[in-house]
Symmetry: C2
Subunit: 160 residues, 2 copies
Amino acid sequence: MTQTEIAIKMVLDRWNGSILNLNKHLNELSDEQLQKEIAPGKNRGIYLLGHLIAVHDDMLILLGMGDKLFPELNEPFIKQADKVATQIPSPAAIRKMWAKQNDVLQEKFAKVTVAEWFSKHTAVSDEDFSKEPHRNKLNIIITRTSHLQYHSGQIVLLKK
Amino acid sequence: MTQTEIAIKMVLDRWNGSILNLNKHLNELSDEQLQKEIAPGKNRGIYLLGHLIAVHDDMLILLGMGDKLFPELNEPFIKQADKVATQIPSPAAIRKMWAKQNDVLQEKFAKVTVAEWFSKHTAVSDEDFSKEPHRNKLNIIITRTSHLQYHSGQIVLLKK
């Protein structure tokens, strides 16, 4: 394994480990618990999970991997704050989307080559990328893993 | 810049960005707010910040960068749960340790070479490392950034 391959493995391992860690917590939370606020006056668990799906869906676009799976989640879970949308999917439906999305992302990530991981993501111009080569696809995984961990630390608070 | 250098830059940028992000929140929190629980019955902000310092201090050992700066924090902030220790440092003292530690870590990280980042950390044997080359020093930064983000998502809940 080259150093570059090792670096990619470490980043993907951390992504996958973060997904598994949150799944473990989600499996221990009831649908009723997911509907609760993580702290008084703060976001509900269900909102945070919908938010994660919507943000991860956008990764498909940034990584040039095709269309979003659930574009309808952008409005209620990214554009709008929690409790603004009058109707959002049920906890059961959100859990199903989350599981489906994780399968799709895992399958797509496994096929990416070293050269592709270090190629530019779709939101940066050729010109900017030539000056800032770290704005590549692998960096999308790094930053979204941070985001996932941030909200995982909040969702876990719903546990008794 | 080689792909390996780019990978190291991305990992360190994410670490530094995570520290800056938490600092921004800490600056907006009063000492009184830091003493509060992040959610009813959960850890206090001050405990989480002490915990982060203690965990980051252990990185110095794992990275072979010398002694811990604040070894006295291991007992109350890692071994013990919140509210077990009868006496812990004041919020002002903890903030000062946090700032000092960030300076020290940043200075030390900046001097590490590519080869060193991909060399084994101190808690893995030569034999295991030969089979699992991802158990290197750079991976310590990756996993601790995850941990930092996880607790940052909790500390931010103390904001009004």
